[in-house]
Amino acid sequence: MRYFSNFIDSGDHFTYVCLSYFIVFLILFLMFFLSYTKTKKLEKEFTLLSKNETKK
């Protein structure tokens, strides 16, 4: 806990560290989110198409 309280009181360094963690997690989250939505969209499209195919 001592390390953490020292880190919070570190002024400029606190901002730099938080900013870099935020940016990395944002990039990784975006990567995950985009991949997830793309997969779900394609899965939907595929089930729809294969249903139509079996009807024919």
């Binding site: 880190f7 870099s20 990395v24 997969t39």
Partner: protein, 239 residues
Amino acid sequence: MIFKFANPLRFQKFVSKYQPTLLYLSLIFLVCGLFFSFFNSPPDYMQGETVRIMYIHVPCAWFSLMIYSLIAICSLFSIVFKHTLADIISRASAPIGASFTLATLITGSIWGKPTWGTWWVWDARLTSELILFFIYLGLILITTSYEDKSKGDRYASILAVVGIVNLPIIKWSVDWWNTLHQPASISKLSSPSIDQSMLTPLFIMTISFLFFFVSVLLMRIKAEIIQRKIDVIRFNRVD
């Protein structure tokens, strides 16, 4: 073993089964890693509190290189054996690799401001990492620009194999040239030059990123396989 999973259908089943587990594991390790990075690791005697940036910067840099190596191996496999799954893995890995490289560049830049006093220097390590980012961009552009997917994959494979010359330059640039960037602290597992309290969060974060990478990669591979199936259905319909 490899050829067993090289079957797309079997691979898809494997992905559906294990991908969420890998993601949960990644989250668990991330929470642990964050705890160790902020509560259990001391500030560095020279870098101060900014050393905490290293716990995400270094894994990102490792993965930017590792993913490119994976792409290059798959590309070589694709050129020699012409296996579709190798193309799919390369295609799926490139955007993840580019994200890790971008994260490395940004976090390195943020770390450089308080430590070196500038956001960016044209140092050998930084420049070669930037070159890697552009190679990733080239790969993504080539794979997506061709209407004929297999053609795009082939060209991307060739580019990926050519681009591998950059990897040893990035890895050993700090030893070859007198750069501002410090040399690797963990070159041998037996005698790393950093303290255990800093090594623990670094490794936990690396494991978390590894699980994240494998999880997202599996998801993207699955999407790629479905996309190809859709293309086949559409193609047959036009015929």
